[in-house]
């Protein structure tokens, strides 16, 4: 709509009419977050990583230790000679296992979201819970095979490319790995029955199947994490094969190895991350459906699904700083050199990138709630909440600015002579920033769920038009521009 008198802005655009909402502000916020992230990645890769020694391999940094190590077991065969180049084997494993993890997290996080939908449907009998539940269940049924295929492929690749390592892993972790593979069968049975018996069995039995599916995936994650966490904190300084058969060590050694010092920290951190991942994945796919679908009923459904997914994403995200802190403390205690490497050494850039992406997610969520709830927040009675949401967004941006700061530059480790210490990059300040973000996330969820009630939101689903502002009479009309 042209502005009053058909005037144009300096940029050549048409200014909004007085009191009219300017949707370009929303686009600017989203573009601003993406540009900030892109700039950070450029600075990280071009400046921070080289200045923190991130391009130097651990093999080179720890060359002295590696030469002096007296391992009990090591690769004996020249198995690297497979014409895949110096990093070929590792790149292959990275590709297979990363893909597997993306699919596996559909179950680790998705199973709990699915269970919540079944429970909500049984309690409310609202069709939208059932529809989304069926969509998620079928999505997971189809993609289960993809995740399982990459898991089996990864195991085959380990055996083929790293045979001695695989042999030792199977000796040391035989029973957890055996349970891991048995659980594939249990999950197939529960998930497939859960899907094919939808609406055909008693609700209590259906709910039990869904609960069994979620718990089975969790237990399966525990079994594989005995190995994943054990590779960083094995729980023993050395071990020796004292027995033959399927348990070639004492039970005490086995327990120390399997239930190693970071097993539970890693597992719960993974579960929270998987819930966040699945929530955001639902949101992303729901927005695609929202755009694809022409019927208003469908738009209403997928608009609601996007909000439902983002609530789960935010719930998982809130837990990350707390669980991450516990995990890091356990690593510091049990593998101090690894802790030095990722927090105060040449791999700190990876942690810096992770917390920056975390900050980007929090900023995006804050922007979502501020813009998507505009119809409700623009009402006079909700102005205080709107101001609070704006304040949250500013605080999140400030916390994000703290989190992107490198702790030091110029040397491999922070304690090395000649290091330039960034006064804004210290861990105490970053802990505060992380917990501020988590607290803001929790407050946003509570405000959105309790103060802006579901009855108020019900009429808004599917209608993403902005709210109408009623300006106080004493105040001159503005362009409607928002934060």
């Amino acid at each position: 709509m042209p502005g009053p008198g058909g005037t144009r802005t300096q940029a050549g655009g048409t200014p909004p009419a007085p009191g009219e909402y300017d949707a370009r502000g929303d686009t600017r916020k989203v573009v601003g977050i993406l540009v900030a992230l892109a700039l950070f990645i450029i600075v990280l890769y071009g400046y921070i990583i080289p200045l923190q020694g991130g391009l130097i391999s651990s093999t080179a940094i720890r060359a002295g230790d590696l030469t002096g190590a007296e391992p009990r077991f090591q690769e004996q065969m020249p198995i690297q000679e497979v014409d895949l180049g110096a990093s070929g084997r590792s790149i292959f494993i990275a590709f297979v296992m990363l893909t597997h993890i993306l699919f596996a997290n559909l179950h680790l996080g998705g199973a709990w979201v699915l269970l919540s939908l079944v429970i909500l449907y049984l309690l409310s009998r609202k069709e939208r819970y059932s529809r989304l539940g069926k969509s998620v269940a079928l999505f997971n049924v189809i993609l289960f095979s993809a995740g399982a295929t990459f898991a089996a492929g990864g195991m085959m690749a380990f055996i083929a490319l790293f045979p001695d390592l695989s042999m030792n892993v199977f000796h040391l972790y035989w029973w957890p790995l055996f349970a891991y593979f048995i659980l594939y069968g249990v999950i197939i049975l529960l998930l497939f029955t859960f899907w094919f018996a939808w609406d055909r069995i008693r609700p209590g039995v259906h709910l039990a199947l869904g609960f069994g599916y979620a718990v089975s995936v969790f237990v399966q994650t525990v079994t594989i994490d005995t190995l994943a966490a054990g590779m960083l904190t094995p729980g023993v300084a050395s071990f020796s094969f004292t027995e033959s058969g399927l348990l070639p060590m004492t039970l005490d050694q086995a327990m120390a190895l399997w239930f190693n010092p970071t097993l539970w920290e890693l597992t719960f951190h993974q579960v929270a991350a998987a819930i966040a991942f699945f929530g955001f994945l639902i949101t992303t796919l729901a927005t695609v459906h929202y755009i694809d679908q022409k019927e208003f009923a469908a738009k209403k459904q997928w608009d609601w699904v996007a909000a439902y997914g983002i609530a789960w994403g935010l719930a998982g995200l809130i837990m990350q700083p707390v669980l991450g802190q516990l995990y890091m403390t356990a690593i510091q205690k049990n593998a101090p050199s690894a802790f030095m490497m990722i927090m105060h050494g040449p791999r700190a850039w990876a942690m810096l990138m992770m917390v920056t992406l975390l900050a980007g997610l929090f900023l995006t969520i804050g922007t979502y709630f501020l813009t998507r709830r505009d119809q409700l927040l623009s009402r006079p009675e909700n102005r205080t909440i709107r101001t609070i949401f704006k304040g949250f967004l500013v605080l999140t941006a400030v916390a994000g600015f703290v989190l992107v700061q490198p702790a030091w530059l110029g040397t491999l480790f922070i304690d090395d002579p000649g290091a330039w210490i960034n006064p804004l990059g210290g861990m105490p300040l970053k802990y505060v920033a992380l917990f501020v973000m988590a607290a803001i996330g929790a407050a946003i969820i509570m405000l959105d769920a309790i103060v802006l009630t579901s009855e108020e939101k019900e009429g808004q689903w599917g209608d993403t038009s902005p709210g109408v502002r009623s300006l106080p009479p004493s105040r001159p009309a503005s362009s409607g521009r928002r934060l």
Partner: protein
């Protein structure tokens, strides 16, 4: 977090127990461009799969019976 955890390890497959063989010839962790390339490929591939599967599995209010 997986990258952070794995990149933290010293050049041992298991901390001070099973070393990565080959010494300096087989650097660990992967070089940065290789990590970035693997990430880009995996994310693009998985997104295409997620998008397509979501397209055919979604229950829309108007065509529930057609799925």
């Amino acid at each position: 977090m997986g990258l952070v955890r794995e990149s933290a390890r010293a050049p041992w497959a298991f901390y001070q127990i099973i070393p990565v063989s080959g010494g300096q010839a087989y650097a660990t962790p992967l070089p940065l461009p290789a990590i970035a390339a693997v990430w880009a490929i995996v994310l693009a591939l998985s997104w295409v799969v997620f998008w397509y599967v979501a397209k055919v599995t979604a229950y829309h209010p108007a065509d529930e019976d057609s799925v």
